[in-house]
Symmetry: D2
Subunit: 299 residues, 4 copies
């Protein structure tokens, strides 16, 4: 962590008023681990009944029990591989029985790993885009159709990443699929408002979770480089994403749709700006450089 991080301590308590999600149902893909778990925990604390879905039922069930026992609100674990449209349909049917259709949907499930692109097989490509892009689309279309049918409004949120817009080498299937998810959500924000649906996007910067970091920085060598260019001088915390996600999904944000919110400690703007590396110039060097510039004549 950089020195300046003392100015930016994380607040990990729940932000919204108690009961903000009472009588609400929230559906979170990948809700058993990492950021998905943190969002589930926050929504549950705020009164929501949660349904979490991913491939590993045992992991989901353990998370569901742990959160539910802390918050006193039901958390349901439903097995679902989002790559399979029929599995998605079955999962939604199960949810309808358990809780009814959701008020809040968070598309958070994803896969990713670092790899030079010339080493990617077509299957490796598909292994990521099928989860991230097709999976998000199948979940969103399945739920959307049923909500429209039932004339029920909902808030949809997708978790993407700060390199979805810029692209990035070495995580190319993820970059492409996440960019696709952002276009999907901006498109539906425009199209499905008339059915009472909102669609928003959160782009997290680096946050240590086992799922992400074991596949993106297996040796741990990259973390220091990342932190050194984060203006707030530290990684994020799952609870920080969870508070933002809860706000975006809440009644305080009913006028928010089509928004894309970066929460990354400033990393993106810091990388993207051409002269930001000059942070390494010392005050003495600046004095010298100023003198040189002042003495320049003409073009």
């Amino acid at each position: 962590q950089l020195v300046q991080s003392t100015f930016f301590p994380p607040a990990e308590g729940v932000m919204l008023p108690t009961g903000s999600f009472s009588n609400r149902v929230a559906f979170i893909t990948g809700g058993g681990t990492g950021l998905g778990r943190a969002m589930t925990s926050t929504l549950s604390q705020l009164g929501a009944q949660c349904v979490i879905a991913s491939r590993k039922l045992d992991v989901l069930q353990q998370t569901a029990e742990e959160i539910s026992s802390q918050t006193g609100n039901k958390v349901h674990a439903v097995e679902c591989d989002v790559r399979d449209p029929q599995a998605v349909a079955r999962c939604v049917e199960r949810m309808e029985t358990l809780t009814g259709l959701p008020d809040v949907i968070i598309n958070n499930a994803a896969g990713n790993f670092v790899c030079p692109s010339e080493r990617l097989s077509p299957n490796a490509w598909r292994s990521i885009t099928d989860i991230v892009l097709n999976g998000t689309a199948f979940v969103t279309l399945e739920l959307g159709k049923r909500l429209i049918q039932s004339r029920k409004g909902a808030s949809f949120l997708a978790i993407t990443t700060i390199y979805a817009e810029s692209g990035s080498g070495f995580v190319v299937p993820s970059a492409s699929a996440k960019a696709g998810v952002e276009a999907l959500y901006k498109s539906l924000a425009a199209e499905w408002g008339r059915y009472g649906h909102r669609f928003n996007i959160i782009q997290p910067g680096p946050i240590r979770t086992k799922g992400a970091f074991s596949r993106l920085d297996p040796t741990g060598a990259f973390e220091k480089a990342m932190i050194s260019r984060i203006p707030t001088g530290r990684l994020g915390k799952p609870a920080e994403i969870a508070n933002l996600a809860a706000f975006v999904s809440s009644d305080y944000a009913t006028w928010m749709s089509g928004a894309v919110i970066r929460l990354d400690g400033g990393e993106y703007v810091s990388m993207a700006g051409e002269f930001n590396e000059l942070r390494r110039v010392t005050p003495d060097q600046w004095k010298m450089m100023e003198a040189m510039i002042r003495n320049t004549r003409g073009s």
Copy 2:
């Protein structure tokens, strides 16, 4: 208002926990009216001591008294024309005496009016860019320098607009100046993190305030056209911006820097997407179109 707006009722109560800004000082330019007033009111309710600054001292004083009498927290009115760097310096000095340097800075003051660009004189151009771009820069640089000097961290927020990125005809000085403000804030997010400063941006969509609407839609004819393309089917409320601004400025968002948050009911994505006008196609027409498309052969 469109029918779907019943799905998206505005929440105008304060969102953050009581006392979120206790012992904090907030400085809001243009805090006497419109959105600035709403943000001041929210921060004051949350415990902040506020300093509001603009040209019209009487307006500021009345707002200060009204808010302060409701919240029980001090609101100070300081006259300041942000176009004048010396007036800005004097205002900041006065604030140092009154409250000390601020923890929260909101650059909200602006000017704007609709006009075909071929009717703009150089003075008309400057009348807007001097307030919006230079004014924001003078306030930000003056406060930044003093905060750095005092080794004090702070959250800076700029209020821009949804046409800052895309540009827009008929409000060109405003579009240009607001784009400049966004670049200023993204730049400083990268550069001044090391001093404990965060910089973020909120882009509001249309919200009825006297200041904005009397100069952007003097006849009232444009409002209907705007609402018809807003997916959530209504204009925004000042309190919705205020809750978002309070969150961004709060300790719950210490990892947010360099973010640009659109809050516009979905208007921007709705305008920008090439085929969104097809919302006017009726279900029967869709059936016909589907049949025609299905019968198309080849390219």
Copy 3:
């Protein structure tokens, strides 16, 4: 067409110097029809040996013969369904025999149709994203790997669309897939420069081709609406895209990589800017509005 279109007549002749692509091989997917055919024709006129690939061999062969007989340069037709990685590999092998690996790659093949998203089945979703996103990835990865293996540089170009960044309702699978393609190309621009590869993107606005218009505007009713908001007052011509594509793929653009070039007559900025609808205000109405604004006092 709008009156102002007389200021913007299309130039349909070839722009680059004769022989600009002599001894070069160009590979164009979807090169048998529409924009792909126009790009093939231009590159062929400029001396390139072209390989065009898509599903319909007869269409390809006819185009190949027509162009080749006009330009005197060989055009090869190769059947290839880009959704199938093995078909892509076979196609590239065939090209290696015919012409060797290409210097210029244009990913232009695509599918699209207008449809309310609630009517999209998972298969309809996949029918578009498989061609547009996976197809582009399979072609790009297959060629990239072989070019890297052979230490050969190349220029890659993807044809996307103006709604790839903004998203758009009613063409949602296309919007998502095209956004994915853009991220893919920006990512590889960064990653594969070291292998001598450049990656760029052209975003066309509306250009009448049978393939696009029969599925996007089957009744012809939408065309007028589009033209009315295009600042240059007309649709584009395939040859205009072809000249831009030839430039981007040529030796005059070796320093261009990671660029995203919109060519749309100004439609995108015109749609996206919130106040651009005020073009409908008449001069007399402006006079009245100016008077009203001038008389406004305060905020």
Copy 4:
């Protein structure tokens, strides 16, 4: 220069067909030096009569004579400080006498220097934004009004920079002003198409000119860092910008308006993508990392 730069040799000859700008008048601010000089030279070779304008008449005159003697086409030198609207008006009047109103306008004049933002005085801020943003606006509005009055179409081009969208520390006034210029040009692309005007933007990456490099990299220490992250492995050449600018301003691009074209060797996407630093990982390290990732279980 990096090894891969051999794949990307610059082409410095003129690209467009001879006579592409015959009987055309081009107005280039800052046309006496650097990129402005290169664009003037290219347009002059292509048949344009050029008018170049900036503060230093002697520099302009020397450039004018040199180019004119090489191309045989007239180049006029007109003194003009773009910060001063009256000087701009006088300059345009002089041009009307010399050549008539222009067909091509290139806003290229600018000022810039690196500096930590906490060392910027209000005057330092204004010294840059007055040239870059106000100067571009004054030139554009003055010419626009007269062209509209004369019912004459024209192509406007602005030269901005790759950090206009992202912002950048240490060049903050320039970043803000250039972002303002981009919004100005996108706005007018939408608004003034009806008068026969097009507006486009080129964002150059680093190109060694005395004016830019002496104030942005006075010690020369930064150049290596920049090159190391440019995928094409080298800086750009003025002639590469000139060929692109000539294309954009030519009759081959009459359907281009509101476009923003980055020409930067790929630097921007390379900086912005979060994982691009992994280019430093060696093939052996990749093998190890792949093994570690493959062995990861769960999230």
